[in-house]
């Protein structure tokens, strides 16, 4: 997208969410939307992260606690299933890990540069009561 200087911006600016008319965005799934390049969906905040959440599908019970509390719309859920993390928009806050109720957790924080497969191979065992 072409960026312009502060003194070239008109007073009062309209930013389009979509590049074509969308009748009611609540009825269109994100993957079917014609996002305009002025929609922050097309941008990334991945470089904010120091730690990243890694998701372990094998333990997840699809409770959607992580989905409802993620401040960055970065837990992707479809048809009542949690299907993964949107690493373009996740800021690595760690809220999803805190609210995940499984034992061991289905989401854990790892260093941003760690390999996800490797992280999954080091997943902790189930904790016993009082541990």
């Amino acid at each position: 997208m072409q960026k312009v200087g502060w003194d070239e911006v008109s007073a009062g600016t309209i930013l389009d969410s979509f590049s074509q008319e969308v009748d009611n965005s609540a009825l269109v799934r994100p993957e079917d939307r014609p996002y305009a390049d002025t929609n922050s969906y097309t941008a990334s905040v991945a470089d904010w992260r120091v730690l990243k959440p890694v998701y372990n599908r094998d333990i997840c019970i699809d409770c959607q606690n992580c989905w409802v509390f993620c401040p960055d719309t970065s837990i992707i859920s479809r048809d009542k299933k949690m299907i993964g993390i949107d690493y373009d928009h996740c800021k690595g806050c760690g809220v999803c890990v805190e609210v995940c109720p499984t034992n061991p957790k289905s989401l854990l924080m790892f260093a941003e540069q760690d390999d996800n497969e490797e992280a999954l191979s080091q997943w902790p065992e189930k904790k016993k009561k009082g541990e």
């Binding site: 965005s25 609540a26 994100p30 990334s44 959607q64 409802v68 509390f69 719309t73 806050c93």
Partner: protein
Amino acid sequence: MSKTIKNLKQFSTANERFEGAHLLCPGCAHSMIVRELMNCTEDNLVLSTNTGCLEVSTAVYPYTSWDSSWIHIGFENAATAVAGAEAMYNAKKRKGTLPNPDAPVKFVAFGGDGSTYDIGFQWLSGAVERGHDFTYICLDNEVYANTGGQRSSSTPIGASTTTSPAGRVSYGEKKMKKDIVGIMGAHGAPYVAQVAPNKWKDMVKKLQKSLETEGPCFINAMSACTTEWKFDPKDTISVSDVAVDSLVFPLYEIIDGKELNITYRPKNILPVRDYLGIQGRFKHLFKPENQHVIEQWQKDVDARWEYLQRREEARV
């Protein structure tokens, strides 16, 4: 028409209308609240936002994070802007010039506590008094977080802010938090409520009720602020849990300015000390010379809870 949302699984099928890569801090409760609002209805939304964290972070040129019509104007004008849009919508409907007159539309304004309790209060009061059909949601983080953490009239006693700093001669903010829910209830608005995003079910129910209610509705939403309350971003939900369980943020609603209902009663009421102890802004209160402030806090919270219960019983 509101959707029926019985559980989280069902809630999670909503098509998100608030996009990522906004620039709110990691762990910010503002976006949790906005997402819960935009995901609890499938109606078209016309939204406005006062100057504040939410506004500066979600419309950073050249990007918008909103998938619904949204306007930002002045610090004081979220209520006015949305009231104007609502009035125009009704006029066009009357004249038959709306392209899609049967599509359900809801009007919602967002403001922080700075713009709601202080700077935009007169405009909010006016819009509610005129009776526009809209919902005003205050994202209450008890501070001017966007401009560097100055106190607002929502800042509670004892909090250290950049304009009420704690130090050798002061224990921080000296004044009590303004009772905005009571004030809005006193307008006789048809629906006024206090919510917290961690209690999502209670919150969604109240948000849906405010959208369905005709006339002006007011929601005060607790928004735990990791930057100014000074806690780790991952703890937004646990701090919010302690806030409602210590009754620092009681959850209740007021209907037509009269009927008050408490909507959440904690099973184990936590001491206010637990709430203060997990936030850096209250750290200095734990010095021996400031113990009286903690005692005062507890007394105030107890008195407020007693008041709410009596109002609930009295139905007046």
